[in-house]
Amino acid sequence: MFNCKESIDSLLPFLEGEMSPEDEEHLREHLSGCPPCVEFVNTYRATSGMCRKALVKSMPPEVAGRLRAYLRGKLETK
């Protein structure tokens, strides 16, 4: 059976379904008796989505306008 460190070290292959059946069994065995690690897995899994939301950036209209003018200028001379 894995300990907490081994479990957390193997989270990426676990969540991507790339673990060997034997290692997956060791991990699942650990998780079944370790609530803090279950919370860790849940929060690790949620991290990417929360970051995506926090990092959304929108394009200012003036930048879009400059982009069109730039492309028109470049492409018309071709």
């Binding site: 300990n3 907490c4 460190k5 081994e6 957390i8 989270l11 990426l12 292959p13 803090p36 690690c37 919370e39 860790f40 849940n42 929060t43 690790y44 899994r45 949620a46 991290t47 990417s48 989505g49 929360m50 970051c51 995506r52 939301k53 926090a54 990092l55 959304v56 950036k57 929108s58 394009m59 200012p60 930048v63 879009a64 400059r66 982009l67 069109r68 730039y70 492309l71 028109r72 470049k74 492409l75």
Partner: protein, 200 residues
């Protein structure tokens, strides 16, 4: 992007490849937000992001004839933008060598048990439509604080959705190294979010 949007892109692309400028402009309009967002996240500079967006679409136009449509147009310009952003970062980069030990992450006892129990299971809050403004700021600061090689892998994979193969090729490291950096970056960002919830 939906299947219909991809089909619309194909139609616009075919017209643009035939020399229809308005079709190409329509493609730009459909993808400029995503390209600009990627460039801004990667470079953290509005001026660089605007230039990368221009260069990306100019390059796409110049290579339209070579685009065979095996991939979606959006994925294609996204990869061009990621490459442009990485090249710009490489030119600007101050030597940035860090070991994994420099990154935040969970601490363990000598027996490999978690030394610090997570604050709470805040994963349910990931579904909230709006992130707490201060949490958003904490996440942006934590992302900015990641060493460059980890930050770019995290952004390319978890925010931009590129494949491990694409990132490995662009960044010039093996797929296992990409995965290792991604995992370490996620752990550091998870710690930052956990620390935020401990304080509020």
């Amino acid at each position: 992007m939906t299947q219909t949007s991809v089909e619309d892109d194909r139609e616009l692309l075919a017209r643009a490849q035939g020399g229809d400028m308005s079709a190409f402009e329509a493609l730009v309009g459909r993808h400029e937000e995503k390209v600009y967002g990627l460039a801004l996240r990667m470079t953290r500079s509005e001026a660089d992001a605007a230039e990368i967006t221009q260069d990306t679409f100019l390059s796409a136009y110049q290579h339209l004839g070579e685009f065979r449509g095996e991939a979606a147009f959006g994925s294609w310009v996204h990869r061009i933008a990621a490459n442009n952003a990485l090249m710009r970062l490489r030119r600007q980069r101050v030597l940035d060598i860090v070991s994994d030990d420099d990154l935040a992450g969970p601490e363990f006892t000598d027996r490999g048990s978690l030394a610090d129990v997570p604050e709470s299971d805040w994963s349910q809050r990931a579904d909230d439509q709006l992130l707490h403004e201060e949490l958003g700021r904490a996440i942006r600061e934590a992302t900015d604080a990641l060493p460059e090689g980890y930050r770019e892998v995290f952004l390319l994979k978890d925010v931009e959705g590129l494949s491990y193969e694409e990132i490995s090729e662009m960044v010039g490291i093996s797929i296992p190294a990409v995965k290792s950096r991604l995992h370490r970056a996620r752990l550091a960002l998870r710690e930052a979010i956990d620390a935020f919830y401990k304080e509020v």
